[in-house]
């Protein structure tokens, strides 16, 4: 039997999973939509991975990252639960040991990670506002009646991108509506939108940071050729976009899980786990904590949000 290690990255929009071997090579991977239900998404994901995993492998570690990392970590009994910044850096460093700058734009987060000699030296993340992230692109795609996956192709067709306010998405949206009503062609508007994402990112997240090559661009938005093109244009540097770019967080957390393995075996059998969460507001004092209680097979295994520790 050969050992293998599972890494899962549960983002707001998509859920990514990989299984790697001793040498960090990907054995199998999957990428599905979270659809607002991380528990179901992970069950689906694990089933896909299980189907594709050769029978001679045995699972020795599980790691979770992404915004639902704590919940899913509990569900799968993960041996490591880590934030997505660290996970992304580790994943990227494995493929690009010389990387200096990682640009990442995801569903609701965007971040920049600066690396020197293989060590993270600084990073920044968007403030709690989701301006200039994937969520904004998908909502605008819906407005324009185009699949967000086709955005890049439309953007590349444009020769003359329209100017769109880059600071705030509310302003950007009203700019967008005006330009569309005035009669600008769709591809010019989409190209303008892609450019505004780049400018917004550099103004908001990248400000004051020295962006040095080699630069790797990741996250769901890196699949958009339009955004990649304008990053190249604005930064005047080559931008590396990996085929596996969307899996970097999952690979990183799988590597971390491998490095922290406990010696136990882990199971990919998730269909029988009854995993429930119940939310309620505790009214015992004026804090009115919003509590989330987590049940595994009918038994409460954890609860979050309590300020006093009563639950």
């Amino acid at each position: 039997m050969k050992e293998c290690y599972l890494g899962i990255d549960i983002g707001s929009i998509s859920t990514k999973g990989v299984i790697i071997d001793e040498r960090n090579n990907i054995i199998t991977s999957s990428y599905i939509w979270t659809e607002g239900n991380p528990v179901n998404a992970v069950k689906k994901l694990v089933n896909i991975l299980k189907k594709n995993l050769p029978k001679n492998y045995i699972l020795k570690a599980v790691g979770t990252t992404g915004s639902a990392r704590k919940l899913i970590g509990l569900m799968l009994n993960a041996n490591i639960i880590k934030n997505e910044i660290t996970a992304h850096a580790i994943g990227t460093l494995f493929y690009h040991p010389n990387v200096r700058t990682i640009l990442e734009i995801g569903g609701q987060d965007s971040k920049i990670i600066l690396i020197k000699n293989g060590i993270i030296t600084n990073y920044a993340m968007n403030t709690l506002c989701a301006a200039g992230t994937g969520a904004f692109l998908s909502s605008q795609a819906k407005r324009l009646g185009i699949d967000v996956e086709d955005f890049g192709k439309y953007a590349l067709k444009s020769k003359n991108p329209v100017k769109i306010a880059a600071r705030c998405t509310v302003f950007a949206e009203s700019d967008l509506v005006h330009k569309a009503q005035v009669g600008y062609p769709k591809e010019d508007i989409i190209a303008g939108l892609c450019k505004s994402i780049v400018l917004n990112y550099l103004n908001n997240v990248g400000k004051g940071k020295k962006i040095e090559p080699p630069i790797v661009f990741q996250g769901g938005v890196s699949k958009n050729e339009g955004v990649v093109k304008y990053f190249k244009e604005v930064l005047d540097e080559d931008i590396i976009v990996d085929k596996e770019g969307h899996l970097m967080g999952a690979i990183g957390i799988a590597i971390l899980a491998k490095n922290n393995k406990t010696g136990n075996n882990y199971s990919l059998e998730v269909n029988n786990i009854k995993f429930e969460t119940k939310a309620f507001e505790c009214n015992h004092c004026s804090n009115n904590c919003e509590l989330l209680r987590i049940f595994k097979n009918g038994r409460q295994i954890d609860s979050w949000g309590s300020k006093c520790g009563k639950y």
């Binding site: 915004s67 934030n83 910044i85 494995f94 293989g118 600084n122 993340m125 709690l128 590597i255 004026s286």
Partner: protein
């Protein structure tokens, strides 16, 4: 006997210790609103308007909580501590805002050193208004200042000792009414402490020193409290591992000063802006990864 209400927000974190001794010594009963909880914050959100910062909304919640529990509420107006040491405009305006929004009796004093209005003058005025004799007032004031200085000295010493700690040292650059408020900042402090970091506070240094030191980052700042917080960065720079800026949304002085400072300093830092989001998840991700960066112990 008249009872004084002391809102545990904004000014409380600067003058609260003085108020408590002053009123105790004069035998005047007082009530302090509790640590901010959801109910108080909700009350504040209800009476405030959209352009106020979270800290001011919170302050109004404390006023609303106290309004039928006491006879007077103490609301100072802090304008300036001489030239180029202004307070934030909310510190000027709080008295008038409350006066317009609530039907309550207010005890007020002004701090406007450019015009000779000092804390001493203000508290003497309040003492007289509450029918206390000049000698009593003088004694109470002296005692209040004496004890306040003792507390300050002790806190400063604790803060300085932390600079020699072996743990990961993080300087929190933030206004005390945000740092120590149980809804705004204290979850962040709690998280960092639980994760084994040493937390050092920008407001617990010798304010005179930090005020002067701020000149090394910017010569023409005129906000007193901002000067002191960024002066602490210069003061502690060589001994700390990283800096976390915390501000409440939308803070005018912070949006200028923190931005300026972040471009000039070389230390790793993050900026956390708090509005009334009830979920801690987003903040936790930022704090956890920041600690990972500072500790630099993550490798492929």
């Amino acid at each position: 006997m008249d009872k004084i209400g002391l809102p545990r927000s904004l000014f409380y974190y600067y003058h609260g210790d003085i108020w408590k001794t002053f009123f105790s010594k004069l035998n005047i009963p007082y009530i302090i609103s509790p640590n901010t909880n959801k109910e108080i914050m909700d009350r504040g959100l209800k009476v405030s308007n959209d352009e106020m910062c979270l800290a001011l909304k919170n302050y109004l919640g404390h006023i609303d909580y106290l309004k039928d529990k006491c006879d007077y509420i103490l609301i100072p107006r802090i304008c300036n501590y001489k030239v180029n040491n202004q307070a934030c405009t909310n510190f000027w305006a709080a008295y008038d805002i409350v006066n317009n929004l609530f039907d309550i009796n207010i005890l007020n004093y002004n701090i406007d050193l450019e015009k000779g209005e000092s804390l001493k003058k203000g508290l003497y005025k309040i003492g007289r208004k509450l029918n206390k004799k000049p000698l009593e007032i003088r004694k109470a004031y002296k005692k209040a200042i004496y004890e306040y200085n003792l507390i300050k000295k002790k806190n400063t010493q604790i803060n300085l000792n932390k600079l020699n700690s072996k743990k990961t040292k993080i300087l929190i650059v933030s206004h005390p009414y945000n740092t120590y408020d149980s809804i705004i900042g204290s979850d962040i402090i709690k998280y960092l402490t639980n994760e084994g970091a040493e937390v050092i506070y920008s407001d617990k240094f010798d304010a005179e020193k930090t005020n002067k030191l701020s000149g090394k980052l910017s010569k023409n700042l005129y906000f007193k409290y901002s000067k002191e917080s960024i002066g602490s960065i210069i003061y502690a720079m060589d001994k700390i591992d990283g800096i976390i800026f915390i501000s409440s949304f939308p803070c005018a002085p912070d949006s200028l000063v923190n931005e300026l400072v972040m471009r000039k300093i070389k230390k790793p830092h993050i900026n956390i802006i708090i509005d009334n989001n009830s979920s801690f998840t987003g903040i936790e991700t930022r704090l956890e990864s920041f600690l990972d960066v500072l500790r630099g112990n993550i490798h492929v």
